[in-house]
Structure formats: structure tokens, C-alpha cells
Assembly symmetry: C2
Homo-oligomer: 583 residues x 2
């Protein structure tokens, strides 16, 4: 029965049925590819006139009919010559066939009954019997470039979701509807936080003032959290000669680097895709003594990664990532104190955002594959025991992933579950015995000997952009007061109260509260609705009564009408709520 069939096979088979339904209605459609994805599948089409939502309904109905037809899926090998004949009208398939032939890969053809065939590596149900016709749904259409590249034609991608049972589908669709309401790309626009520009390029968000203010609140919060614990800021440029990445070893291995800038008569320059090598250079540029260690360098700085344009998404998958990066240079016996300091910071940060549901992945080396790892085995032992102990001591939910350590050291990953139950990887702590060796980092120990420090990488938010995306969705754009780009908006009931409104506005600004004042040329009702849509925590209304009494009528975003309050008391109330980071 359907419940027992492999969900991957069901989803993949549905992609074929979708293509069959599309070709049935629009025989001239050119087929792209149709893989499975998380929770479902998609198929890319070049349809001369595009598709309408009505089309989706037709395709869905037809697919259900096909499922009822008990169609058999079967595969057979194909020579390139034969394949070219079969797909002679399908230009994208012909492109794939050529590539397969060039790489001497075997082509296979999968048939769905007698109604459809596709170039495909397989992974299907044996019979459409195995598919529950009530447990799938075509959800939406989106544009997608052929092979993810914007120099290629743009295709129409039809997305579908599919599960084993109708209940699972319904639960998923409900969660998804909620996720759509919270979609940070939608809210980012509505709340005027950021925009994307065709002329600047994909994955490169530009932030409006409200977004820039939110960025700054986040970044300054992390800076403050760090500096009160003895972390020191540094500043590094966004580019470097390739030479730096030869030393670090990234030049050959790191494949999402932007291509080089080739200067005439000079070395090639690169945009930095990570900060570590620049941090290492700063440490290496001056001699160090054991008395100075640990040295805790931190920088909030943007790196650039050439993620595929097809994989970019709003703020959560970008090409410009601003990292709250830090590198601690420590002696081995300082590792425990340093890790604990980092855990303190992570705890303080997650508390401030109200993130209660998180787990820690402890990645350690695989003792069966000792040859995979570099560095002193004594430091490995010490590091891994330390990581395990400190996490256990805190009683945090965690799992140990043997063999998941990097070749240069063990690490901790913090995975946060948001209000919709989706998991996001946030903070990372990574021990490193590789870069200190490659950059020949040294310190003079108390015995007068040159020794190599351990480096600990650490990010708390991960990247400002991605963290903002997560925050927007987690809070559905209704940020806690301490994060809200605009904390209060002052509305005068009519023109004659505008002066008093302005006075109150100036008081709020003077106290460091992020406030706005509206003109009174729209109705009060309209202005209140507008402020509510902007999810502003405090809407402050003033009329005759308030002007006479030196008070304000307070309407809170979630608590509703809070009545009249003296303006002084209001200021104190707002300042305290922000300072205490009340969620």
C-alpha cells in the first residue's frame, strides 16, 4: 500500500505524472527536469504561454486519473542515438543527452504506462497504485532559469507536495500556510526592511533604513556581549591577493569563491569568502607571549560566496553574508575557559531572543579513521573531552556525531527550532589545529619555548542577513521592543494636537527611543491601521484630554488598549521593556 512505499519514489513518480499531464494539455511544451525536493517535487517547463492557476487544477485532476489507471513504471537503457530520436522535439533533453554522451554516462528511459516517457535515472514506484491520490497537491508556479543560470531561458517551475497520507499532507499545508504568512521575503517588503535589485544582482540585498537599523541592533548587541568579556574588535578589508588563500589552502579547495579580479601586472585579487586567513595574518604580524593569551579577535564583516543563483532565497540564502566572526588564539589549557565563555555568550544571546528550543551537535573524530585528521592527538583528546564535558555540565540537549569533526578539529553546532518547528543552524564553535600550522602561528611560552596556539573559530548569529530572515519569520515581523526598528509611533487626533504630538515625539527621541511622528492629514483610524500593519509595538494617540493632562493614550501591538498614562511614565516603561529585552 501507499503508506509503505518509499516516499522519494512516490514524489519522483508524481513529477513524471505532472509532466505527462502538462504535455497532454499543451503538447508543444518543452520539458526541463523534474526532481524530488523536501516534501515533494517540481518539474520545469518551457510553456510558450506560461501556466495559469486553472492549469494547475487541470493537471492535478489528470494526475489523479492517471494514478487510478494503475500505470506501471519501467526503465530501459538507451543509446545516445536512440535517445536523440525519442526526444527530437525536446531541446533541453537533447542538451542533457549530449552531455551524457560526452561524459560516456549510460542513458535510461523511464516509461509510465504507455502515456509518458522521460530521460531519467529512475527511482519510481512500480505501479501508480502505490500513490495515494489524496496525499499530493500542486502548490504553485515559479520562474526558474534552465540549469539555474540567468543566461539561459527562463522556465516555469511547477511545485508539488506529496506525502504517504492525506493527514500528513493537511498538516504540512497548514504549517505552510502559516509559513507563507510569515515569509520574510513578503514581510521584508511590507515592513520595508530590504529590497533586491535586478541591476545589483541576485543574493545581494540592499537594506532600507528599517532593515539597516535592525541589522545594527543585532550587530551591536553581539559586539557588546563580546566586548564585556574581553573580546577585541579588529578590522580587515574585503579583498586579498590570492597568495593568502594559497597559504590557507582555500584557493584549491573552496569552490564558492567569486572568480579572481585580474589586475594588469599584479597578482590576482579575490573577494574574501571567509575571514579566518585575514585574522591569522593579524596575529602573525607581531610576536606574542603566553602572557597575552588568550587573544580574542572579533569582527563583524561581510564575506561573499558565489552561491548558485537558483539556490538563493531572500535573506536566508545570500551571496553577501555579514558574519559575527571571532577567532580566539589560546593555549591548550585555556580551551575549557574559552569554550565556557562562548557558551555563556550563546546562552545570553538566545535568552535575549527567547530561543528556548535548541540542540547541540558535538562533532568528534572517528577513532577508526585516525589518518584523516591532522594535529596533536593530545590536543584532540583534550578538546573533545572538554566539548563533551561543558555541554553535559549545562544540561543542554545534544547528540554526538562521530566522524563529523573537520579534519582539523572537533566542533559544536547549535540548531535552533523556530515557532513553526523548522530547524536552523545558528552558532558554531570550531577548534582548529590546521590554520595555526599553515600560518606558522607562535607564542613564546613561560619556558621560553616557541609554541603553537590553538585557534577557536566562533560565530553566534552566523550571519546577520540569515539571522534576520529567521527572526522575521519566527516573530512574524512583530519584533520584540528591543529589536523593533520603530518602537513607537505618535498620532495626533487632529491638527490642533500636532504640537503636543511633536513635543512627545521629541521627548521619545531624546530618550533614545526609536519613534516616528505622523502628519494628521489622514483619518486616525487609517493611521492606526497603518501602524498596526507596520507591527509597531506602541501606538501613542494624543488629543485634547492627553494634551491637557500631559498624558498619552497607549495602544500596544499585542496587549491592545492600555489606557492613558503620564508621558514620563510611558518613557520609563518603554525604556525598561527595551532594556530588559522583554519578548
Amino acid at each position: 500500500m501507499a503508506e509503505n512505499a518509499n516516499l522519494e519514489n512516490i514524489r519522483h513518480s508524481l513529477a513524471h505524472l505532472l509532466a505527462a499531464a502538462v504535455l497532454k494539455k499543451y503538447p508543444k511544451t518543452k520539458l526541463g527536469i523534474g526532481p524530488t525536493i523536501e516534501n515533494g517535487f517540481y518539474y520545469d517547463f518551457l510553456a510558450p504561454d506560461g501556466f495559469t492557476p486553472e492549469d494547475l487544477k487541470d493537471f492535478e485532476r489528470d494526475m489523479k486519473k492517471m494514478i487510478g489507471g494503475r500505470l506501471v513504471f519501467s526503465g530501459e537503457k538507451l543509446t545516445p542515438a536512440k535517445a536523440k530520436t525519442v526526444f527530437k522535439n525536446q531541446k533541453f533533453k537533447l542538451e542533457l543527452i549530449k552531455e551524457f554522451a560526452k561524459e560516456k554516462k549510460q542513458l535510461t528511459l523511464y516509461k509510465t504506462g504507455e502515456i509518458f516517457h522521460d530521460l531519467c535515472r529512475g527511482g519510481h514506484v512500480e505501479n501508480t497504485l502505490e500513490i495515494n491520490p489524496d496525499a499530493f497537491k500542486l502548490t504553485h508556479i515559479a520562474g526558474a532559469y534552465w540549469r539555474g543560470s540567468d543566461v539561459n531561458p527562463q522556465l516555469q517551475r511547477i511545485y508539488g507536495v506529496a506525502f504517504a497520507t492525506k493527514e500528513e499532507l493537511d498538516t504540512y499545508l497548514k504549517m505552510r500556510a502559516e509559513a507563507e504568512k510569515r515569509d520574510h521575503r513578503k514581510l521584508g517588503k511590507e515592513l520595508q526592511l530590504y529590497t533586491m535589485s535586478e541591476e545589483v544582482g541576485p543574493g545581494l540585498p540592499l537594506f532600507y533604513p528599517k532593515g539597516a537599523i535592525l541589522r545594527r541592533i543585532l550587530e551591536n548587541f553581539i559586539i557588546e556581549i563580546q566586548e564585556k568579556r574581553g573580546y577585541l574588535p579588529i578590522w580587515i578589508p574585503h579583498i586579498t591577493k590570492g597568495e593568502l588563500y594559497k597559504i590557507s589552502g582555500h584557493l584549491d579547495k573552496y569552490d564558492t569563491m567569486f572568480p579572481p579580479m585580474k589586475l594588469k601586472n599584479e597578482a590576482d585579487y579575490f573577494l574574501k569568502p571567509m575571514n579566518c586567513p585575514h585574522f591569522m595574518m593579524l596575529y602573525a604580524s607581531i610576536p606574542h607571549s603566553y602572557k597575552e593569551l588568550p587573544i580574542r579577535y572579533t569582527s563583524t564583516t561581510t564575506v561573499y560566496r558565489r552561491e548558485k543563483s537558483g539556490e538563493l532565497s531572500g535573506l536566508t540564502r545570500v551571496r553577501s553574508l555579514t558574519q559575527d566572526d571571532c577567532h580566539v588564539f589560546a593555549m591548550p589549557d585555556q580551551i575549557e575557559t574559552e569554550i565556557n565563555l562562548m557558551l555563556d555568550m550563546i546562552q545570553e544571546v538566545y535568552n535575549a531572543f527567547g530561543f528556548k528550543d535548541f540542540r547541540v551537535g558535538v562533532s568528534v573524530h572517528d577513532p577508526k579513521e585516525k589518518e584523516k585528521y591532522i594535529g596533536d592527538p593530545k590536543i584532540w583528546k583534550l578538546s573533545e573531552e572538554t566539548l563533551m564535558r561543558v555541554i553535559k555540565n549545562r544540561g543542554w540537549k545534544h547528540q554526538v556525531d562521530v566522524g563529523e569533526a573537520a579534519f582539523y578539529g572537533p566542533k559544536l553546532d547549535f540548531i535552533f527550532k523556530d515557532v513553526l518547528g523548522r530547524e536552523w543552524q545558528l552558532s558554531t564553535i570550531q577548534l582548529d589545529m590546521n590554520l595555526p600550522a599553515r600560518f606558522k602561528l607562535k607564542y613564546i611560552d613561560s619556558d621560553g619555548m616557541e609554541k603553537q596556539p590553538v585557534v577557536i573559530h566562533r560565530a553566534i548569529l552566523g550571519s546577520t542577513e540569515r539571522f534576520m530572515g529567521i527572526l522575521i519569520e519566527h516573530f512574524a515581523g512583530a519584533f520584540p521592543l528591543w529589536l523593533a526598528p520603530i518602537q513607537a509611533r505618535v498620532l495626533a487626533i487632529s491638527e490642533k494636537h500636532q504640537d503636543y504630538a511633536k513635543k512627545l515625539f521629541e521627548e521619545l527621541k531624546g530618550a533614545g527611543i526609536r519613534a516616528e511622528l505622523t502628519e494628521s492629514n489622514e483619518t486616525l483610524g487609517k493611521r492606526i491601521r497603518e501602524a498596526q500593519l507596520q507591527k509597531i509595538p506602541y501606538i501613542l494617540v494624543v488629543g485634547d484630554k492627553e494634551k491637557q493632562g500631559g498624558t498619552v493614550a497607549v495602544r500596544h501591538r499585542t496587549h491592545g488598549d492600555e489606557g492613558e498614562i503620564k508621558s514620563d511614565a510611558l518613557l520609563q516603561k518603554i525604556l525598561k521593556e527595551a532594556r530588559d529585552k522583554i519578548i
Copy 2:
């Protein structure tokens, strides 16, 4: 007599005499080029064993002898073939000859008596009689790549200074000695503010914590100055598709852009050399009403310019420039208010740094060349009259430069004279009628019509890096308290006072004072000297007496011993001095 001869000719002739003296002592030396520069000249040599300071003395003595020899300078035209014979042992000259031949340029040979000849376009004294032998000096040797490119061999560059009279030379050398003491490249290293890295590349400084803190103080100060006047922060990425610069017109014209990053199957990407186009995109991305204007967007963001590596110098000429950039989008009748707001800011900033000696250049269009300029003549008239009026109203020293306006609008430049009398261009205010047109910027006016806003560009510091270089030299590294990366250092007389010292240190830190605490394992005298070398404003010494009395012995960087003071009073004193920005 020498006093009347053209100083340029004197300097150029001295460069030839230097080359003659070098060849006399080291006949195998290969000659590079020898131009005049500000205050003197240099000549580049490839000397197999380099030069010593002793050599410079010899060369100088020999040059004086040659001057006494009343040598005649004479020029003659040369064919490439002849030139190749004359310079057959001079590989760099041969390279130049080839280039001249290729470009069909006339070659000329200049002779100095019978003792020396050089490939040279001329500009010499007629007779060495015209040179005052006591009014020049060879100053130093530096490495320089042949033709300024680091793929070419490194040469030895000998620098000389020369004037008409000995008095002028002496005055200059005195000023220069003071400038050398203040050289920000020297102090930047001694005070551990920043470093350069061979592996990262020239013109790309990396900042140590003290430098990063100074950067932040400067940048946050400007942010604060702006935001209290209604400026709003934005954030933009450091790269863009070339498309953006096609619209702005920079792609063809701007020649210090880094070369493109060529992505496979995507448009070319560029590092931004300026921020304007990104700012324009943000404004253009949403509709605007006259009610919103003026919109004042600001961002402190790094741009990258491919300055020639030979022209880079410390922080004052870099490839990574962090601009305190701002673009105001305004209606024509808002220009005056906006310019005045900018002048208020500039005045407040210069006051805070104690910059009293500055002048303003007002660049206006040339009425005789009307065809050179774009934009509405009415806005030109309004803008130029406004600029003149506001500057006059303030009574600021200024001059009007007719014809110096950009083709798209008039501007103000602020030129500051530092403590050594050197002039530095700092702030700029530039009207722009070009970018609003190119980016089709619009607002809906009160009459319901679409109109084009005026853009006003403005930077106060110019760039963080360059401004830091200027500040370091102006203050000789002894920054006013509000700027000092470390404001106070606490020294315990001996180990038994360390606890009290630590308590004081924590109090200072808690009050937001940038303090350091030293270990007491060095002698007090040594620690005081070390703190003085670091130019730390307050050295706070504590021993028995201070511990018992809850006091501190204060030693001020410039005022010297200030006696004992209660620790509370000290905190208040330091905080007030920083808040008031006492210079």
C-alpha cells in the same frame, strides 16, 4: 643667479647629476627614470649591491663638485637605432626606447657637459651655475618597482630635495623632521593601530584592536551627528553587476575600478568604487511623495579603488576606503536648508577635532561654456547662489573656482590645514542633476505631477582610513581623550596593590572608560615609560597610600603629575573630559 632659475629645471638637472654621480662610483648600475617631485626629485637605480647611507654622502659631495664645474646641459634628437646603441647596456632605457619607437614618439638625449647623458624630454638649467650647491640634499633611499608594478624588478630609489636657497632648504628639512616624527606609518606601527600584509596586498590595511576602536569612535561619531539631524542609515553590498554602472555611466569612464569578476553563465560583477549607484537603486525601488522629502540616506561603507601600487601610502592613499557617505534626495526649494544642515554638521565635527584652520572651495560652472553642463539652468542658478550665500553667511574663508563645477552640478570642498601647515581635502558637498536623470528618480509633487529630485552627495571625513592618517599626524599620535583607543592605564606599584588596581580598572571599564591594567612584574618606571610611549592620556598609579584612601595618583600625558584624587572624582573627571571632547 640660482634664485631666479626655474626650480623645476634645477630639480630635474640635479636628478641627472645624481645619476652621473652614481655611475661614477658604480659603473654597472642600471638606470631607471629620474623625474622631479614636490620639493625635489628622485632617480631609480638597479644597483647590484644596493646603496648605503655612506654612498649618499659620496654622491652628494660629487654632485656639488659637478655643480662647481659649470657644466652645460644640452639636448639633441635621437633615432631609435642610435638610442639603442647609446644605451646598449641600460636595459630599462632600452625598454623605454622600444616603447617610444612603437608609439612613434621623438626620442631626445640630454647631455651634462661631457660626463653624463640621459634619455630625457628636457627641462633643465642651461648651466650648473644656476644651481645653488648648498640648497639641495639627498634624503633617503627606498625600494620602488620598475614602473610601479610588483611583477617588475625592485629598484633603489634615491630621493633628493632642492630649493633656490639654503634658507628654504633648512626650513623645509626642519618641517620634514617634524613630519617624520609624526609619520602615521611609523606611529601606526608603534601604537599598534594597523599593519600592512604582503600576502593581503598593498593599500589594504588591517587594523589591530586599537586601530579598530579608533575607526569605530570616528564612524560612530559621524553616525550620531547625522542621525540626530534626521539622516537614516541604509546598508548596501560591496559588489554589483556591471549593469548598475552602465546605468550610472561609470563603467566606461571610471578608470580606477577593480577589474570584473567573470562568473560562468552570469553577468560580470564589480567591487564598488563608489556608493552613489547603490543609493540611487534604493530610492528608485519604491515610489515617493513630496511629503517624504527630503530623504537623507547615509551609510558608512567601504569602496575599493585600484590606485597604482606605487602611489599608495600608509592610510592616506589606500585601495580600501571606508566612506561616511550620504545622499540627500530633495526638492529644489529644500536645497538651502539641506546645505545648511550639512554645514552645521561639518562645523560640529571640525570643532570636535579642534580643526580651526580650513577654507572652502566653491566650484561653479563657467558661463562661457554652457554646453559643458547638464541639468536645468534654473536649478544651477539656484544651487550656485545658495552655495555662495550660505558660505558667506558663515563668514568662512573661501574662494570661488569658476569652471571647476562637475558637469552635473556645483560643489563645495573643505580644505583643512594641519599643525604642520599641510593642506588636506576633507569634506565635500556636491549637487547632482545627472544621476537622478540616469536612474529616472521621481517623486509625486503636491500638484500630483511626477518630478525629479535633486541629489546632494556629502562626506564629512572623506574616508575613515585617510582621516585616521591625518589625525595621527596632526596629533602626533597623542589623541584627545575622546578619541584615544586607550584612555587610561592602571599601574599597581607592587603585587600587593594589584587587587586594588584591578578594582579601579573594573570601575573604569564599568563606567565605559577604555582602560587597561598592567601586571606588576616589571618595574614601575618601565611601565610608566611604556604607557607614555603609547601616548595614553591618563596613567593611574596605585600603592599603599592610594589603596588606604580609595584614591589614585594621576599622571596626565601632557599636564604631568596631577596628584592624588578620589577614584569617584577621577571617573567623573575623565567622563566629562571625553564627553566635552576636550582637545
